[in-house]
């Protein structure tokens, strides 16, 4: 006979403000099987847990219902609490009367009635709960890091230094990400390359790290501890085992006019190339879309003639050019995944009022970084893309593609205020005669030394900050006219500019949504990963064993990205510190007496957990491999003979909930 105890939590006033908790407990005493019911201010507190434990002993409870918050919040807490009192932890169920009731209904009478019904349903369920035992599975102590920007690099190094194997997959030919493109970093003005490249080299030489650039994740199967991942290694057409990175090929390649992705279109590169001098690996790839020989081969197939080339092949001292190299798919097993796929900047060509991206002297902040960089396309000389002249007046527009609902980006990109201030300062250091104007809406400089930095830019570096969003940019007499408003004065402002720099906001990286779907983690409407909990579990995703770092979950600056990377690394190390993983015992079971051997269950099971077993007498029936079963219950719903059931969510438990609700 079930002896059920019901505990109703006030959650301070979170529940008690709209639910009469005492009244609810009173009502619960009348529910079938309930022998004890009471209410308490905070059940999750130590005193609350003790109250439950004491009651288990005192009233000889063999089932417990905790009516409080969402089980997604505190199920582990209360399972542990009842276990300490000697009860099987799976004989405890939670009734969610906070998220699903007190927080969404203002009327006290309505909320109290609803809370009572919710508890009645859960009481009916718990009466049918069975003791369950968690199972243990082994794990592969190897980490997959997706993305080779600063976040991915940091996470990979931290986990590798802890002694675990790491594979880092990067889509482009080099690691370094966006940080490698920056000239300097705010507010300390460290040279970005100087602090980043040593880490890149360390990573490439680390004995525990396998680096796969020019590669992408194709598919992810399995679960925490045992992910099976397919990685596409794109053909580089260069044998990286023999190549020494001497540079002859890319210096001599005659195709020199390919817009450089690394220079954001400000510079050119060759068809066989490394993205920038300190690239890691420092070995080239052939961009087949632009390689003359590859194009020659394609033309030949069409029956057309095109010049052959093959200069790189002829000049390579180590004969490393490999035209036969094909894309390759590698399958590997990992115990955990860190997603650090980074970000892209907002495409400002949607703004007609700023010229649809067609004015050459309207550039983005990232493009300016490349112009200011000594190893950039202009060797660090800041010149106008239109005529190569030095600008005298430079106007910055903040919030382009940020805080703009119309273009679908209502959020703040967080870093633009700071990088714009940095640009204004650096321009002045490049050329003291340059005048800078910054049109902003609000200055968001919450970070150590950030506010001071922005003040310095205005006070010491003479940048003119104008509070107001620019409405219109139009070219006139070889210059750009900026129409804004000084909202503090309430007066329209027109500024004549030689160069306009747009602080384009942060968007999810290209292909982010596809990647999230491939991995099976949830993301928001903008393509950023949803954290498991925004406050308390900020580097975990809603899929066990998959973690996140950097801008994958939204705009972040470098310090935040690096902190997150290390945090994710700690989570991985914690996971890898175990030799076995305890997993939910909520798996399917087969009643082999009832099984008719139709194997519909086998057809629907996404995890191939259904196995066949021949009974004595030759009858073939289904058996569930519990270490593979993930407990979705698809097989149970598919089974026609009622031979299958799902532990923890049995037909009996679920139907009892329906009946308890509607028969009352």
């Amino acid at each position: 006979m079930p002896r059920i105890g019901v505990f109703v939590c006030h959650c301070g006033t979170n529940i008690a403000a709209t639910v009469d908790c005492g009244g609810v407990a009173e009502a619960a005493r009348g529910f079938p099987g309930v022998v004890h019911a009471t209410d308490f201010t905070y059940l999750c507190a130590e005193a609350g847990q003790r109250k439950i434990q004491d009651a288990i002993a005192e009233h000889r409870l063999n089932r417990v219902v905790v009516a409080s918050c969402s089980p997604r919040m505190h199920e582990p807490t209360f399972r542990k609490a009842v276990a300490q009192a000697g009860l099987n932890p799976y004989l405890m169920e939670m009734a969610n009367i906070r998220e699903h009731c007190s927080w969404v209904h203002a009327d006290r009478q309505v909320a109290t009635a609803k809370a009572t019904e919710i508890i009645r349903m859960v009481v009916a369920k718990v009466a049918r709960n069975e003791p369950l035992t968690a199972k243990q599975v082994g794990l592969t102590k190897k980490l997959l890091v997706i993305g080779g920007g600063i976040a991915g690099i940091q996470a990979a190094l931290d986990v590798a230094n802890a002694g675990h194997q790491v594979t880092l997959v990067e889509r482009t030919p080099t690691i370094g990400g966006k940080m490698a493109m920056l000239d300097k970093t705010f507010p300390t003005l460290d040279c970005s390359a100087c602090i980043l490249t040593p880490r890149m080299v360390e990573l490439s030489q680390h004995p525990n790290i396998e680096l796969r650039t020019y590669a992408e994740v194709l598919s992810v199967k399995g679960f925490v501890g045992n992910f099976e991942v397919e990685i596409l290694q794109k053909a580089r057409k260069v044998n990286h085992l023999t190549c020494t990175g001497c540079g002859t090929c890319w210096q001599k390649c005659p195709e020199k006019n390919v817009p450089s992705e690394f220079d954001v279109g400000m510079g050119r590169r060759t068809a066989i190339y490394i993205p920038f001098p300190q690239a890691v690996p420092n070995k080239p790839v052939i961009d087949t879309a632009n390689c003359r020989y590859v194009r020659h081969l394609a033309a030949k197939e069409r029956g057309e003639k095109l010049m052959e080339c093959r200069v790189c092949e002829k000049l390579c001292p180590t004969k490393s050019i490999d035209w036969e190299q094909k894309d390759e798919i590698i399958v590997d097993r990992f115990g955990a995944i860190i997603v650090a796929n980074g970000y892209d900047t907002f495409d400002h060509s949607v703004y007609g009022e700023y010229g649809y991206g067609k004015y050459p002297d309207v550039i983005t902040g990232l493009q300016l970084e490349r112009l200011m960089n000594a190893s950039g396309p202009t060797k660090g000389e800041v010149v106008r893309p239109s005529d190569g002249k030095h600008p005298h007046s430079v106007v910055f527009l903040a919030c382009v593609g940020s805080r703009d609902d119309k273009v679908g980006r209502p959020y703040c990109s967080k870093i633009c205020c700071m990088y714009t201030a940095k640009h204004a300062l650096m321009l002045k250091e490049h050329d003291p005669n340059i005048q800078t104007y910054v049109f902003y809406i609000d200055i968001r400089a919450a970070g150590r030394g950030y506010e001071e930095f922005v003040r310095r830019v205005q006070e010491e570096y003479g940048s003119t900050y104008i509070r107001g969003r620019v409405s219109w940019i139009y070219p006139q007499d070889g210059k750009l006219m900026i129409k804004g408003e000084d909202t503090l004065l309430g007066r329209p402002v027109e500024v004549e500019a030689d160069l306009v720099v747009l602080a384009t906001g942060i968007t999810a990286a290209k292909g982010a949504v596809d990647l999230m779907q491939t991995i099976g983690i949830s993301y928001d409407t903008y393509g950023f990963i949803n954290e498991m909990h925004p406050k308390l579990r900020p580097v975990e995703t809603n899929t066990d064993g998959v973690y996140l770092a950097g801008c994958a979950s939204g705009p972040k600056d470098i310090p935040d990205s690096v902190s997150q990377a290390s945090a994710a690394a700690v989570k991985v190390c914690g996971l890898f510190s175990q030799d076995y993983l305890t997993t939910d015992p909520m798996t399917s079971v087969v009643d082999q007496m009832k099984c008719v051997g139709c194997f519909l269950c086998e057809e629907v099971c996404p995890f191939r957990a259904v196995e066949r077993e021949t009974l004595r007498g030759g009858k073939v029936v289904a058996r569930i491999n519990e270490s593979v079963c993930k407990g979705c219950g698809l097989c149970v719903a598919a089974c026609r003979g009622e031979a299958l059931n799902l532990k923890g969510f049995t037909d009996q438990q679920l139907l009892a909930q329906v009946t308890a609700l509607l028969r009352a």
């Binding site: 007609g352 009022e353 649809y356 139009y474 070219p475 006139q476 007499d477």
Partner: protein, 290 residues
Amino acid sequence: MSTYAYYPGCSLHGTAKEYDRSARLVCQALGLELREVEDWNCCGASSAHMVSRWLALSLPARNLQLVEKMGLETMTVPCAACYARLKDVSCELKDPEVRDKIGRVLGGQVTGRVTVEPLVGTLTTQEILDKAAGMIKKPLAGLKVATYYGCLLTRPPKVAQFDVPENPQSMDRLLRVLGSEVVEWYFKTECCGASLPVARTDIVLDLSRKLLTAAKKAGAEAIVTACPMCHSNLDSRQGEIRGRYGDDFKMPIFFFTELLGLALGYPARELLIANHLTDALSLLQGRGLA
């Protein structure tokens, strides 16, 4: 032959007669039948919405009702201001509550099924452009023009649903087909002051002067419009601008239909181009176009 309900609007019966005349002529030539909305009334234009939303919706709605009675599906509107009001109402009529209320004011229901389009849209479809290209008798001989769309043809984009809001191209395409050179300038949709000239002439002179200056700087010999209000502000105020600022632009302002008419071979006199307050004939005569 496609048949359109044609809503000329008050200006085309007054200060912008040449727009009306040229519109009718070119439509006829291009095989578009225009049937003037029977007993049409003023759309309320720039004034009704200033004082009453329901008046602003109901005045144009009456015209839509009339078109429904004529059994036509599409109405073409030469005046940009009238277009804005009529199109606004046709969007608002999608809301049943608004539709009922307008019906109450009109004393009879209006369904809002009539499609409203600007004449400049009607005359710049690819089909019409191809047709016009084959009918050109007098190419515009490299006449350098700045196209000026004004505020209301493309804005707000959600309502107007015409062309690209910040850099519309319809007239540009047409004029290139006609053989003129379309200069690059950036004031295509900047406001000329609209209905303010009577009450605040000073503001309109200032705004119009900016437009004329920019067009001249861009190398335009003439400005082409699709709005009688824009035309009036730019064409008739050049004298006052000279008086106040000393700039003597002598910039002819055309309706796009006038240039289309010229290219199709209609004489300037028949198109009433002599009606302009700023001399346009001399420029045309210089090019052998009039």
